[in-house]
């Protein structure tokens, strides 16, 4: 994979067009490479919008996390 190919893939990843899973299939070996690419290109870590087939499972996850944090905060 050329440096240009890598840059293109990292840009697609930052835009949310492709996944880390897809990057791995295309030759990225370690997530440090991805973070490095984002840093070098001045791009942001892609934060997932609340969409897709797992919205319900994610909402359950957020509720469970909130419950855990609330439980932890109790004296």
């Amino acid at each position: 994979m050329t440096r240009e190919d890598k840059e293109t893939l990292i840009r697609q990843y930052a835009a949310g067009d492709i996944t880390w899973h897809a990057l791995r299939e295309r030759g990225f070996d370690n997530y440090v490479e991805v973070l490095s690419g984002l840093g070098e290109l001045g791009l942001k870590y892609p934060v997932a919008p609340m969409a897709g087939p797992n919205v319900e499972a994610r909402q359950r996850g957020i509720a469970l996390l909130r419950q855990s944090l609330h439980h932890q905060a109790k004296p």
């Binding site: 942001k44 087939p53 359950r60």
Partner: protein
Amino acid sequence: MSRVYRLIVTDTSPLITLAVANELEVLLRPGLAIEIPDAVYFEATRVRTAPGASRIGAWINDHSDLVRIVPTETGIDQQRRLEEGRPIRGMGEQAAIEALDIFLTKNAEGQALLLFEDSDILKRRAVVDERVSLISTGDFLRELQTAHLIQSAEHILDEAARSGRNVEKQREAADDAEAREALRRQLRAGQSDEPGIQG
């Protein structure tokens, strides 16, 4: 909470992101026992000179009461593949499925919270088991920010990308034998210091 809860790390990326940002401690804030499948641990730490890798190992050792590496059949297969020079890419995810099955089989009433990387969580098949919930690294950090447990989710993610640039420069292929020995040490430590099952 009387049920049994687990936070299962499904892939290397959340671990590496937080390690590179030097923020692994945030994973402990919810007070949930954490399980890291052996193949995920190995994938995340086999580049031994990367600061993220050494931080992950040290963090697990420092919190062996809450963080456990889960031995899986996939992990054994991963080691065999390495010895035979075959690729091991993506085996962490397979090991995470196995770790989830082990947890749910042992704890019929258990609740598993699976930590995913943001881009991957959008493309997963729908999770229908009510005992299984998902959270992305971004969701996780945003909730901590809302609870005033961290200053800024964005700062942590930006810091990971900024530091990643420096980390990559130090990257060097790991010596497999040494990395395997490190995994064995972690597993032995986990077996002798099993965390409590209480959530």
